[in-house]
Amino acid sequence: MIVEIGHYALVLALVLTLFQATFPLWGAIRRDAALVALGPYAAIAQFLLISVSFAALTYAYLVSDFSVSNVYENSHTLKPLIYKWSGVWGNHEGSMLLWVLILALFGAGVAVFSRNLPNDLLGATLAVQAMIAAAFLAFVLFASNPFLRLGPAPFEGRDLNPILQDPGLAIHPPLLYLGYVGYSIVFSFAAGALIVGRIDAAFARMLRPWNLVAWITLTLGIAMGSYWAYYELGWGGYWFWDPVENASLMPWLTGTALLHSAIVMEKREALKIWTILLAIITFSLSLLGTFLVRSGVLTSVHAFAVDPERGLFILIILIAFIGGSFTLFAFRARAMESGGLFAPVSREGALVLNNLFLAVAALAVLVGTLYPLALEGVTGQKISVGPPFFNLTIVPLMLPLFVAIPFGQRLAWKRGDLLGVAQRMVFAMGLSLLATLVVAYHIGRGPALAIIAIGLGIFILLASLDEIRERVMRGGTAGALHRLIGLPRTFLATALAHAGVGIMVIGIAFTAFEKEAIVSMKPGETVKLGEYSLTLRGIAPYSGPNYTSTVAHFVVHDGTRQVAELRPAKRVYIGRQMPTSEVGRHRVGFSEVYVAIGETSDGNHVDLRAYWKPFVTLIWIGPVLMALAGLLSLSDRRLRVGAPRVAARRPERLEPAE
């Protein structure tokens, strides 16, 4: 009964979105406040209905109701409770239900928090959001229905994919979906603004919190996924340029660009067309990511729904929304007035530069991801575009961008003074040069490029934070505290987020200095990893609740004494007879000793990969700091007003904004 109620709630939600997609839009065009107001209430009702549906499926998982086909396929009575919870979204159908739930959550969020939106914009935005929801609800119901029943019901399920039986699964997909789907509301705002023709600073102000929420969650989702891959897959890498990773990176790059261009739009009413375009592109790339993961055109750890019919369904949704929004854009773009003017060297100019690099990087990732698919489709030839391509394209694009970060942060609005900015950074530059020399001295020999990259990271970190000091000390120590308190939180957020970038760059650059050992060992043998040595004590079998495993017992020495014991394992899950590896890690500051075991032979030989990874955790601490900075910025509800620097004399020539 509960399961069927959940199913009906989902159907009802679909039908309700059809009304939500039409009445408020009608109201927006006719300027009928009552009809528009139907939008927020319908959005809340839609969210409640999908919540009922999601709760019903969760219930079916918790009580192991194998008469529900989806539960039978992905659960098992012996599975620990937390994986019964997370198993709800650890499969295609359930994750699509989570997807529409989050979609509805954002719609309801706009309904609750945006009471002060102009009526026409609110109506049009919620109508567009409802259209997206309708498309995906139809997809869930007709192509990926999690509520299909089995009769007679089996007595045992087929278990969740063992790789997904990890606490990381409980967090990674929901975060990533919050990000992906969060951009749907940004898209809806942009499309709504295009429909009613209201594209101005006030619009950018309304867009800001939603844009930030989507960006924060997407950032955390990607970082979480990267960390999970690092410790679960046993390869020791943090980023694989896997097509599905790329699918999440593309909207992140354009979303980051959007975050910056929206600042210009809000402060100076410039870059309007570009901001709207970025909002459309970012959500289009999210949809593309969904398509790539779910259509089965890719083979990857993430591709869990290999079904061409589903792929076609999403492709149609993709084409309808991208095509529709670009058509709307083409009609309305001419009507947009260009806003405030600015010189090439100015804060606006720096943000345009940022946008340019991020957009080109996104394009490079797009090409690298789609080119093999297109080639296979045309010639049938299978090629793989791997790290070499991306390292050759993304790294040269990112380095100048990173160098520009501290400069852009200091340039004045409208017209800036590059030389003056450089002078203000002399202190930070000197300090980071000194720090880099110290690091280089400690490392001794190594690739010069990696040392330069470390130096760059240190520079971004120090120069970003130094601006806070600079602002506070402007005008002497007197009143410094007053100024520190008076600093807008958005300003602090900028400095912290950029510092996060610096931290991440340092972490990535240090991977060039990791030590690796891929060996076969017997108990009693020792392998050296830089300053550390790893001794195998023994190998033993172990049985968990729904798996059996082989555990190796290592001790780690740092030359003088034993610092840790590690127990990496290789597990075989009973339900699916699939092996996974459990990595053993010992953390020293920001660095790690990392051991993953492979096959054991003759009961006393074990193959293993062991690494010494200096400063590896910085790779994830950086993005987490960026996300925290995003939260800080989100908490700042003040308006952003760009105060343009007044020209000392008549300006020679100003660039139009677009």
Binding site: L16, L18, L49, S64, A201, G486, I574, L639, V646
Partner: protein, 375 residues
């Protein structure tokens, strides 16, 4: 019933929530009001920045001028725009009507197409009752775990194999029987069981491995009914119908009255129906009722027999009966070719007689090739 109550509550709850604003329409804020509000807010923010020493007075003036220009432009645009507010009440009525009718009219048929309204929830906890398949599953998992680490435990495989057969996991059963033979050697019974599992896993086809197993079994024990029976079936599958009939007839003659013989006879009946085998040797009906029955025309006789069997079923269901009576009922159902009812009776017999008769009933079910219907 509760499901439909839930459906009604959800539908009208959602409609009521969505329609709330139509009953009490909110005040329309003009977009110009918005712009003015926004302009004022930005001026306040500039004031704050100046007092915090973040921007200079001249920067503030420049910024304010920029804001003001924009506000003026918007105001001009607003005057041109014509506000269409007439007809709001009429539109609200249309919307309310469409929603109230449209929600149930669209969603209920759609749900009936995709959903399964008559299927109740089946949480595993409510299905695990003593003696049920689910409990057996649990026990099975424990044995499986045990066998995974003790792959040479013949006793374990011997226990688990019939359980697999009962659950329809024929390939697993065949594997288990093979393990038993590999560990503890061949006996006629083990070989015949392996052959039977193999046939079941092949949907009734006797493959080479199964045939070899039966042949070995018969070589060890020439009187082994099960092996002889399946070898006869194999002969039929080879295309040698007369040979198969001969083997079955010999087997039937050598067997005492009982379920085994009935199974063989039912195969022979199949051939008889096609006119390939000689008719069943007729015995004298022993009782008066029997005599009367045999004098009836064939149609009526069949009906009369069915009536008697149904009577027996009804009596057993109401008053219960002995193991013997239940077995007679089940066999009669099979003879009348009412296999589903036979399975039903078997399930009822299990329930009525409990553990004491489980072994007997299992044997009968195997002989009649009956799968227990879920109670």
């Amino acid at each position: 019933m509760t499901l439909w109550l839930g459906i009604v509550v959800l539908t009208f709850g959602a409609a009521a929530l969505a329609l709330r604003p139509l009953l009490r329409p909110p005040k329309d804020k003009s977009s110009l009001d918005h712009a003015i509000h926004f302009y004022e807010a930005r001026r306040l923010e500039l004031d704050r920045q100046v007092s915090a020493g973040l921007i200079s007075e001249s920067e503030r003036t420049a910024s304010e001028a920029e804001q003001a220009r924009r506000l003026l432009a918007l105001a001009r645009q607003q005057q041109v725009e014509e506000e269409q507010k007439a007809g709001s009440a009429r539109r609200s009525k249309i919307a309310a009507l469409l929603l109230l009718v449209g929600l149930p009219v669209l969603s209920i048929p759609l749900y009936l197409r995709t959903g399964t309204p008559d299927m109740p929830d089946q949480p595993i906890a409510s299905r695990v009752t003593p003696g049920s398949d689910a409990e057996m599953q649990k026990a099975l998992q424990r044995i499986e775990l045990h066998l995974a680490s003790n792959p040479n435990d013949a006793r374990g495989f011997e226990v688990i194999a019939p359980a697999y057969m009962r659950l329809g996991r024929y390939q697993d059963a065949a594997f288990a029987f093979r393990r038993v033979i590999a560990i503890s050697g061949e006996t006629p019974d083990r070989l015949a069981n392996l052959g039977e599992a193999l046939i079941a896993s092949q949907n009734g086809i006797v493959n080479a491995e199964a045939r070899e197993a039966f042949q070995k079994a018969v070589a060890l024990d020439p009187d082994l009914g099960k092996a002889r029976f399946y070898l006869a079936i194999a002969t039929e599958q080879d295309g040698d119908i007369p040979g198969a009939i001969r083997k079955l007839s010999e087997l039937s003659a050598s067997l005492p009255e009982g379920p085994g013989k009935m199974r063989v006879e039912s195969e022979l009946d199949r051939f008889r129906a096609e006119g390939k085998a000689p008719p069943r040797p007729t015995g004298d009906p022993q009782s008066e009722a029997g005599k009367a029955l045999s004098e009836l025309p064939p149609d009526e006789r069949a009906r009369a027999i069915e009536g008697m069997v149904d009577g027996l079923a009804a009596r057993l269901a109401q008053q219960g009966g002995s193991l013997d009576e239940w077995q007679r009922l089940i066999q009669a159902r099979v003879v009348l070719n009412q296999r589903e009812k036979a399975a039903e009776s078997l399930a009822k017999a299990r329930k009525a007689l409990g553990e004491s008769a489980a072994v007997e009933l299992d044997r009968l079910a195997a002989a009649l090739d009956l799968k227990a219907a879920n109670p």
